[in-house]
Point group: C2
Chain length 185, copies 2
Amino acid sequence: MILDAAERRAQVLGFNGFSYADVAGELGVTAASIHYHFPAKTDLGVRLIERYTQRFLAALAQIERHPDGAWARLQDYAGIYERVLAEGRLCLCGILAAEYETLPERMRGPIGAFFGANEDWLTAQLSEGRQAGVLAFEGEPRGVAAALTGALEGAMLVARARGGAEAFVSTSALALRSLCQPLSP
Amino acid sequence: MILDAAERRAQVLGFNGFSYADVAGELGVTAASIHYHFPAKTDLGVRLIERYTQRFLAALAQIERHPDGAWARLQDYAGIYERVLAEGRLCLCGILAAEYETLPERMRGPIGAFFGANEDWLTAQLSEGRQAGVLAFEGEPRGVAAALTGALEGAMLVARARGGAEAFVSTSALALRSLCQPLSP
DNA sequence: GTCTATAGGTGGATAGAC
DNA sequence: GTCTATCCACCTATAGAC
C-alpha cells in the first residue's frame, strides 16, 4: 500500500526525507504510478496526516473501552508512543512538527489538529480521573494534557538520537507519574 | 557571519531545509564562496552543532554563577528554551534530532552529546538541590534530568505547530514544577 | 493503472579566473 | 576570498503510449 510505505518513511526520515521514487521502489512500481494516486506530494502528505490521526483516535477509543480507570488509560496512552518508537519510528505529527516551516499550508492545520485531539482526549481522562478521586495533579487538566503530550513527543525525539528506545520507557513513565499521580483509595 | 545565518535557518527550517544559496543570498555573496569556508555541508553542520553546544554550555555556566539556588537555576534553564522559541526558532539539536536518520554520521554523535551534556548539567543541579534540601523529586536525578530535557524539547515542538509561543511558557513551567518541587524550609 | 520519456527546477560540489 | 561557469544527481510533475 502506498500510504503504508510513505508513512513508514515519513516517520523515520520526515516528509522531506523521502521521494516518490523511494516509495515506488518499495512497491515495485515507478514514481509516475504514485502520481496517478496522489498528483502532488502535498496530497499524499495531507492524506498521511488524516489517516494517522484517524488511527490514533481509534486507538484512543479502544483504550476507553478498557474499564480499568483513568490511570490505566494514561499508561496505555504512553504505551502507544512506546510501541511506535520500538519500531524505529517517531510520531508522524511529531516529526512533521519539526519540519513545520517547510511544509505546505494544507498540511499545517491537520498537524496542529492532531495535537489538539491528543490534548482533548487527555483532558477528558484527567478530568474524569480527578472527579473520581483516582488521579491528582496540579492546575487545570488541559495544562497537564499539553505537558504530557509534549513530554512524550520530546522523549521520543531525544531517545532516538541517543540510541536508546529503552530509555524512553523509563523516561515516559517518570514523566507520567510526575505530571499526574494515581491515588489508591 | 556564515554560521549565524546558517544557524538561524537550521533552527527554523532544519538542516535539510536550507541551501548554500540561501545562506549566501542573505550575506550578499555566492554559494561557491560558502564552499570555500565549508567545503561540504557536513562540515558546516558539524561546526554548527559544536558552536551551539559551546554556547549552550557557556549559558549554563553563567547560570551557575547566580547564587540563587538550584530551583532558580532550573527556572533559568527553562528560560533559555523560552527565549529561543520567542525568536521563532527551535533548539538546534532538537530539530536536528528529528532529521537524525537523514544526517551524515559525523553529525550524529555531537547531537547525542548535546543532550548528554544537558542531562549532566541538570543531574548536577538536581543532586545538589536535593542534598541541600531545597528540591524534591522522584527517583534518580538522571532520570528526572532526561525527562526535563525531553519535556522542554517536546513542548517547543508542539507549541510552534500550534501557533503559540505563549503556550510554551505555561507548559514548561508546569512540567518543571511537576518533575521537581521546590521546598521552602 | 502502470509504463517510458522527459521537462523544469534545485541542490551540493568543483574548476579556474580574478 | 569571491566570482562565473559548469557538472551531476535527484526530485516533483506531466504527457502520452499501452
